[in-house]
Symmetry: none
Subunit: 214 residues, 2 copies
Amino acid sequence: MSIRVLVVDDQAMVRAGFRLLLADEPDIEVVAEAGDGLEAVTEAARCDPDVVLMDIRMPELDGLEATRRILAADPESRILILTTFDLDEYVYRALEAGASGFVLKDDPPEQLIAAVRTVAHGDALLSPAVTRRVIKQFTRVHQAPPQAVETLTEREMDVFRLITRGYSNAEIGRALFISDTTVKTHVTRLLQKLDLRDRAQAIVLAHQTGLFET
Amino acid sequence: MSIRVLVVDDQAMVRAGFRLLLADEPDIEVVAEAGDGLEAVTEAARCDPDVVLMDIRMPELDGLEATRRILAADPESRILILTTFDLDEYVYRALEAGASGFVLKDDPPEQLIAAVRTVAHGDALLSPAVTRRVIKQFTRVHQAPPQAVETLTEREMDVFRLITRGYSNAEIGRALFISDTTVKTHVTRLLQKLDLRDRAQAIVLAHQTGLFET
DNA sequence: CGGGGCGTCGTCCGAAAGTAGGAGTCCGAG
DNA sequence: CTCGGACTCCTACTTTCGGACGACGCCCCG
């Protein structure tokens, strides 16, 4: 009763690497390979693997669409997405598509193998590196407004409020009857205090934490 | 260079169980135990463990507060929270308190051991059971867009969504695997379609209309 | 009285953002 | 097959932002 795996990647070298890597594991068996999304769908239908190891970037049909189609044909399929970057926007979309998990290509091999077993067993999984990111996002959303906001002066708050309305520096200047260079001073300082990069992030922060509601 | 672990639980039997469980692992060593939160704090300060395995429900000082204090004394500490229930409240609060991970007491032993290694290595971790819930939270997406937003193409929507997260053009490019000049093209066109001046206004619009909730 | 925080206003500079226009691919509809 | 829409990428340009300075006046507080 070994775990039957389908490896999908457009680079033959990568597929070979995984095949080799998994060959040492007695309870895991690579039963098929596919070089693009379309192949992946047909192969999945043909050999009904326990786990599909799927690259996300592929010709013909990308990993997302392939995931959707495979799951449409067999909702029981377990699909483990592979990617190179962890800030990958495709993470979310892959999970939406119904993928069971997510592993970085440069995670250590043992982690990949453990991941295969985990999803085969029915659990969902994110690679630790991805998890760290998710946790970070997660805790940020659920945190009360950072007390750093309290360190803002009255004037900085004025500017902050107008920033969250989408005003430019010049507009803020006109609204507050000060020069735009002064506005820039305030903006720079509030960004520093809140540890943000630009006004865009400031707006996001304000809305996430419910600042300036109403 | 084994991983030095401090086990914290108010039940001596549980501590003994973990000690036994971890004794078989050559690279893991239980260097101390504590029966409540206060003890945990002093023990952590005394023996400076690599990983603290901490129950969340305890007399004197609960796992959350103990976590905060240990981290206040040494921000480098890795704390792995143990609990019997996968109630979200604990997850949030433990992560807020700065815990590196979260494991259910009835997760299989191998998972616990792997978790210890993972957090010792510096990665964050959620038990698969918890991860599934987190994933669910994160994959909640788009809803009915208000009018003009419908004229946006799929790609423009992708870019729009990342803008509302505070991403720069370069970051969006990396996330979507396209060049930043292409991102700028999409940005310009979506701003035109929505009759907005800059990304800041786009973020405001998105949040005001409840686009891209969560 | 002297600091220190705050608000105001500058300059200089580099990095982003946004605009304009062109151009190539792919794909589906007519 | 042609046409057009979507997507991609480019060059070249202007404007805006943000950072790093410094400066001045104000007012409060030790």
